[in-house]
């Protein structure tokens, strides 16, 4: 066990939280945002259909999926930057389960 400096630990938490907030805002805008102004978006067309309908039927879901994949990739990168080794995490997690 090694002590982590407070500034470093806080930086880790801040980086992760910032990402969560950004992705949730994006998710909110493409779903609730588009619905709230559906009448406005209906003047545009995308793939043969009006934009509000496209966003509801495909666009929002596509962006949700991209957010989750991007989050998983970026989080792994942050973990590596802060010296987290996934193999050790798995071991810690497994030994914790046996204790309980």
């Amino acid at each position: 066990m090694k002590k982590v400096e407070k500034a470093k630990a806080d930086a880790y938490f801040r980086a992760r939280t910032r990402m969560i907030v950004i992705f949730l805002i994006i998710g909110f805008l493409v779903s609730f945002g588009v619905v709230a102004f559906a009448e406005f978006f209906s003047q545009f067309k995308f793939l043969g259909v009006e934009l509000h309908y496209y966003m509801g039927s495909q666009g929002a879901v596509l962006i949700f999926i991209l957010c989750l994949i991007l989050n998983a990739v970026l989080s792994d990168r942050i973990d590596r930057k802060f010296g987290i080794d996934d193999k050790i995490s798995v071991n810690i997690s497994n030994s914790k389960n046996i204790e309980q």
């Binding site: 982590v4 039927s57 989750l68």
Partner: protein, 553 residues
């Protein structure tokens, strides 16, 4: 027995044999196997299992039909049910995984160190899963009823027997791998018909890019008939109801105990994040396809069925008229069936369309097998959750802490069978269409659990009094609003399926106000919550963070 019945039954029996084979091969031997599959499921496969667990009769049978009938307003289901995975993967899954418990009531009981909270959570889990399973059973009734050409009610009875036998065979470990198999079967069965329909209607086999123009054409036919366009927003419901429904489904999706428990089956926080991403990708495949399904069905009904002489309707109409899900009447007496004279129940659309489009007996049979896979995989996950919240959280943690593994497994299996039978009796006369029943389960889940779980992992100051108050206020106000709106009292045009918009904020408010008015939780509990900010390798202790570099403690 005609060729179609033979084919459908044959495919269902063959897929069943596969699921039961997998169950027996992976039979649960220990408690941790039964509930969380010994926490060794890789994220990719866990994502697929979440997909199978998640996509129920409501997604498979109900959703495309709902979009077909409601047009744009039905898309609240698509965005709500997928958006929930953002909330779940960002706000809850990794933190809950690090906390490391078996079930949702167990997390609540241990985080708030309070057995009253544990009991309320366990009872709420039972209510939510029970409501959800009614939707599954009534879905299997539609499928079995159609295949055997009997009223949906008898179909439901047969479905109850099948599901009860099936679910008691294994636990979470066998459920994980059968859910993977069920996902694969249901997604293939769902996509094949829309590829053929796309080819029939547009000449291009890629439905996801072609159906936009079909939606546009449907709008043109609507205009000709003097109806509002299919894709026009807020025709079937108010904007406020759309937003309320979408909110309810999102928040509910993030707090369903039988979905959350799937995130306890992976090894780490990182694996939980990847599970969420894979899960939404697999789920998205079906959700991308449902609006396409809806558009093709509506187009085929409008152009090939509507406008026919009423005495020369195709053979398939009779089957659905017999089951009671289709109503037609020549209201204006001109001998021609007009579009406005067709009253199709949303629950028949997915099952009927391959017949209407004449896709051949194999595809129709495959649809039936896929629908059964969807109903069974979700029912399987729900029954494990019902049994664990009774056997583990109520029986073992509160009534008999000395109970052996065998005794707990036995108690769990008894509760599973009881729940299936009682839900089956309710499903004989379903209180709503499938998507609506399922939306109630989401409203209850979000209204009861979402604030208590989110604040539980993010806010140190949250205590047991707040959790109890929050769950009771949330559950009570959500149930209350569902019953009020069913009896005709609504606020801002929001109906029963949007009840979460009231339950969730009230729950948050109760949690925060009551927590601040009462004493903060013990220091070690607060430290445990701070610890959830960091990955497994970092530990928060007495205001300091330590990293385990693998050199041992």
């Amino acid at each position: 027995m005609d060729a179609q019945m033979f084919m459908s039954l044959g495919l269902i029996v063959a897929t069943f044999a596969l699921y039961i084979g997998i169950s027996i091969f992976n039979r649960a031997k220990a408690t941790s196997d039964f509930y969380v599959a010994a926490r060794g499921v890789p994220p990719f496969w866990n994502g697929m299992a979440i997909g199978g667990d998640w996509m129920s009769a409501a997604s498979y049978i109900g959703m495309a039909g709902t979009v077909m009938v409601m047009g744009y307003d039905g898309l609240a289901y698509i965005m709500g049910w997928t958006g929930g995975y953002l909330l779940l993967t960002f706000l809850l899954a990794p933190q809950l995984r690090k906390y490391g418990r078996y079930t949702v009531p167990e997390f609540i009981g241990d985080r708030y160190v309070n057995n009253t909270a544990r009991l309320i959570a366990a009872i709420a889990t039972l209510i939510i899963s029970f409501t959800y399973i009614i939707g599954q059973l009534s879905g299997s009734g539609v499928v079995i009823g159609r295949i055997l050409n009997i009223p949906a009610m008898y179909g439901t009875m047969i479905g109850v027997v099948v599901i009860a036998i099936y679910a008691t065979l294994g636990g979470m470990k066998s459920v994980t791998w059968t859910q993977v198999a069920q996902y694969i079967i249901l997604i293939i069965a769902y996509i094949i018909p829309i590829v053929f329909m796309s080819l029939q209607v547009t000449g291009n086999p890629i439905p996801w890019v072609t159906y936009g123009s079909v939606v546009d054409e449907i709008g043109a036919i609507d205009r000709e008939l003097g109806l509002t366009e299919y894709f026009a927003p807020f025709q079937e419901s108010d904007k406020s109801q759309f937003i309320a429904l979408m909110f309810t489904l999102m928040v509910g999706a993030a707090s369903l105990p039988h979905v959350i428990v799937r995130f306890f089956t992976v090894s780490t926080m990182k694996a939980a994040r990847w599970s969420g991403a894979w899960a939404l990708l697999f789920i998205g495949l079906l959700y991308f396809s449902a609006p396409a399904y809806a558009a093709f069905s509506r187009f085929i009904l409008m152009t090939r069925v509507a406008g026919q002489p009423i005495d020369q309707l195709p053979a398939w109409t009779e089957n659905w008229l017999n089951i009671g899900l289709l109503e037609i009447a020549d209201q204006d007496g001109d001998g021609v069936l007009d579009w406005t004279e067709i009253n199709a129940n949303p629950d028949m659309v997915v099952m009927a369309t391959p017949e209407i489009a004449d896709l051949g007996i194999f595809v129709i049979g495959l649809m039936a097998a896929g629908a059964m896979a969807a109903a069974l995989s979700t029912a399987g996950g729900l029954l494990v959750t019902i049994s664990s919240s009774f056997a583990h959280d109520i029986y073992y943690r509160l009534i008999n802490p000395e109970a052996s593994d065998q005794k707990r497994l036995k108690a769990g299996r008894i509760v599973m069978i009881l729940a299936t039978i009682v839900a089956g009796v309710v499903a004989l006369d379903p209180p709503g269409v499938i998507t609506q029943i399922v939306a109630w389960a989401f409203a209850l889940a979000g209204g009861t659990f979402f604030p208590v779980l989110v604040l539980g992992v993010w806010w140190r100051r949250m205590n047991s009094a707040g959790a109890i108050a929050g769950m009771l206020v949330g559950l009570g106000s959500t149930l209350g609003y569902i019953f009020l709106s069913l009896s005709g009292v609504t606020v801002f045009g929001i109906v029963d399926t949007g009840a979460g918009l009231f339950g969730v904020p009230l729950n948050f408010l109760a949690c925060i106000v009551v927590s601040l008015m009462t004493a903060p939780p013990a220091q070690h509990i607060q430290d445990e919550v701070t610890d959830l900010r960091y990955p497994e390798q970092m530990t928060y202790k007495d205001g300091e963070v330590w990293i385990n570099d693998g050199s041992g403690n």
